[in-house]
């Protein structure tokens, strides 16, 4: 029996649309998980990935979409996100932590801190940031 639930969300890649998209994803995830701390961390990492697509994937004057594919794998206690765009992709994937006085450059560090695994996938013109997190058994609300 397949115990992986898959959900797809897609919108125009603007900052305001991206945050709304993340909230839709998190609304689904909230049905599975009850730990506020874990949900906040995942919300934060997903927001960073989606805002990154909104800001950097498409050149000025060029419009495109951002997509989130959410997989909830109850059997393996795993939550996985694939955040995709069809623009130029992300050139700088540096996930090191910048100095304390730096005013930018912490987005990928946050994703790397929250997730257990992060990878970058390119299929034709679709570029994805894929990250997953193992969820402790007691933190599940439901698993169908």
């Amino acid at each position: 029996m397949n115990r992986v639930q898959r959900y797809f969300f897609r919108t125009r890649a603007t900052t305001s649309n991206s945050r709304k998209l993340v909230k839709s994803v998190m609304a689904v995830l909230t049905e599975f998980l009850h730990d506020e701390d874990t949900l906040y961390s995942l919300d934060l990492a997903l927001t960073e990935a989606c805002f990154n697509a909104a800001r950097h994937a498409y050149d000025q004057g060029m419009e495109g979409d951002v997509e989130v594919a959410l997989s909830v794998d109850c059997q393996r206690s795993l939550v996985r996100f694939a955040v995709s765009d069809w623009g130029r992709g992300v050139s700088d994937k540096d996930d090191s932590l910048p100095g304390e006085t730096a005013v930018s450059g912490r987005g990928f560090f946050i994703i790397a801190q929250v997730a257990d695994k992060v990878k970058w996938v390119r299929r034709k013109n679709k570029k994805s940031c894929v990250f997953s997190k193992q969820i402790a058994e007691g933190l599940w609300k439901k698993c169908v």
């Binding site: 961390s41 927001t47 805002f51 005013v103 930018s104």
Partner: protein, 112 residues
Amino acid sequence: MEKMRLEKQKNILFFSYSGELTLEVCNDLKQQLEPLFDEDNFSIFGADLAETTFLDSSGIGFLVSLNNRMKQAGKTMALVTPSQQVVKTLKLVLLLSYFKVVDSRAALESLS
């Protein structure tokens, strides 16, 4: 709904923000606060983040930028009663100890 407020008490300028402090709002906030850096009628800047429900990397950058600017202007900045969400994000990027944090508005006066 996001909301910014500014209040002046003696030599302290309070900035409070309710809602999500993210990329969506940071540029507007920076523009609104820009004229403050030239003012010399306060020496302490208190950022009351008790009602801030979400903080992303742009929000962090905004707070760091404010802190840098206040330091350059010879002023002191502190975070006042930051919410759990703000504390969690700042801990994640190892910046909680970088900021002065106080647990009440009254405690800001001791910084002067």
